[in-house]
Symmetry: C2
Subunit: 342 residues, 2 copies
């Protein structure tokens, strides 16, 4: 039984308290009637109650999950909850410790409890697709799901990691369409960025990775991109410094999508030295703790414009927020909030 419905439940409150009503009811419809008035009044009262009780969690509060392990340390619930609060949406995100052993039952919970949806993170992103009714074309191509939407018990998987990266660039006024980029890494975040960039019209992507277990995944990504998009992708061994120098020289942007630079590898980068960079190059990192990785510090020394992973994290969350609520996250507000609380 699922009674999840954007139209019936008074979960969404605009400043006027009316936006969640179907358009016809908001404007009175073709036949303005007393029930319509009552609905509108009820909704204003509930909106007032909601605001007045300082976002009190009540019987109308809906739930969005975050299923991963480990996960308690994640900033995502606090961020999404502030975004829900700011948008006046009576919904919260909670983290649940879920790994591959209880993932199937946890996904079933989304249906059984009528949760609005869920975020999924490691180690479940590449596993969870099999338990869902549908996958977005992007999630299917990437082979990874980080966001689930529950539509009356029918679950659809999306991957907003790559969208988050592309939107974080867009937000900075950086346009990489029709251009060539270099992405180092072949894990989950790297794959999402590479495939989303290809889908969004990047002309060429050079992927670098060491010859570890992820190298085959990188080769698979190259095949997927070349088979399914008009982007031209190649993969190289990261120890091939000649290729690295040549591909970076050809690229407008280079990004680190490996864990190097992040704890416990704070003082490590795959970049041999700053001679590989030039001031016009845009340099980004998916890592955001620390905010300035060794890689970004080297780029700043050369005078490159740099961007860390904080913004990607925000924009993947904003894309998930939009999928769950149909509303835009107030990104400017959230940037300030993350600065104050992140």
């Amino acid at each position: 039984m699922h009674r999840f419905s954007k139209k019936k439940e008074p979960w969404a409150f605009s400043s006027a308290g009316l936006e969640h009503l179907p358009y016809k009811q908001r404007v009175g419809g073709s036949n303005p009637s007393t029930p319509t008035m009552i609905l509108a009044l009820q909704s204003v009262c509930e909106a007032f109650l909601f605001v007045n009780m300082k976002s009190m969690i009540n019987g109308y509060t809906e739930l969005v999950g975050l299923m991963a392990y480990p996960i308690r340390h994640s900033h995502s619930p606090a961020m999404q909850n502030e975004a829900f609060r700011k948008a006046g949406i009576n919904c919260i995100q909670l983290a649940f410790e879920v790994d591959n052993t209880n993932l199937k039952e946890a996904v079933q919970s989304i249906r059984a409890l009528g949760m609005r949806g869920c975020n999924v993170s490691m180690p479940n992103k590449t596993i969870v697709g099999q338990y869902l009714e549908k996958l977005s074309p992007t999630a299917q191509l990437i082979g990874s799901v980080n966001t689930i939407v529950n539509d009356n018990g029918e679950l659809t998987g999306y991957c907003t990691d790559g969208i988050g990266y592309m939107n974080s660039l867009k937000d900075e006024g950086i346009d990489i369409k029709g251009k060539k980029i270099t992405v180092v890494g072949a894990g989950g975040a790297a794959t999402a960025i590479q495939i989303q960039a290809a889908l969004d019209g990047v002309a060429a992507i050079s992927i670098f990775n060491v010859k570890d277990k992820f190298f085959a995944a990188g080769e698979e990504t190259v095949r997927k991109i070349n088979d399914n998009t008009s982007c031209k992708a190649d993969i190289y061994d990261l120890s091939d410094y000649e290729a690295l120098r040549r591909e970076i020289a050809d690229s407008c942007l280079v990004t680190n999508a490996t864990g190097l630079g992040m704890k416990p590898y704070e003082d490590v980068t795959w970049l041999p030295d700053i001679s590989y960079l030039r001031p016009e190059l845009i340099v980004t990192d998916t890592v955001y703790v620390p905010p300035i990785t060794k890689f970004l510090a080297m780029a700043q020394k050369v005078g490159c414009r740099t961007l860390n992973g904080h913004s990607m994290m925000l924009f993947q969350g904003a894309a998930a927020f939009k999928l769950w609520t149909g509303k835009d996250m107030d990104v400017e507000h959230m940037k300030q909030w993350l600065k104050d609380n992140g």
Copy 2:
């Protein structure tokens, strides 16, 4: 996979931020060590963060459910959430629309998501027991569960409805042990009150009900009480006014545990007239909307001491809170809060 653990997770914050640590760690243990100090410091920091962020829901927030249908209107989540906030416990209650069709999967969610527990209400109270590993003796005798506790994936069902009623009397200084009471009704709330009263040492209970489908349930309750407790129970047809007058005259307390007096029966009571009452009689009602039912109004006219269902609602919640957290709900604070927000 369940990592639910009172000892490891920093979910519980006292004002000192230390109470959730095992006793040995709080006092330094037999071998005060650096890890102990770090744990204590970490916990103080987390407590500070928790308070400072105005009870922000974060990755550490745990979940307690409320499964029933309809349920959105319920005051329970708001009440429990205020109690969690007041106690400094990083846990929230959310309502889920669950009926018999999705109850089994919803209960499985408690395990899969590692929820701390759940409240259960109509229409699930008498059904849910079969999906749990254990039942408390009281829940088994009453045949009804309103509270579930998750202990590392093992679910135990309790019934706090009767406890709530008995504690609401106790809170008013009313002691009915060793005395006779009359309870009108044979539904869920009535059964819980009757059996709990018998277990708690009430000497005799006279049950009245109309000859509807619940009369057999009343007869079953009488059998259970007489077989399992030292209380003497009898059931009478509510239209037998002679018996009603006689049994009330013998009782120290009479309570309405039917829906009469509640919407849409605001102006209705089963009591024929005030000649059945006397000023020394204590008169209680399980209904709390409206706060003064027709039944209570008649009793007040006679000069009886009266008590409505609000207090029973609070104390059944306090008993559930204690089962989930091991802590006493701040009942005095909650009384004021319910007055301001209820």
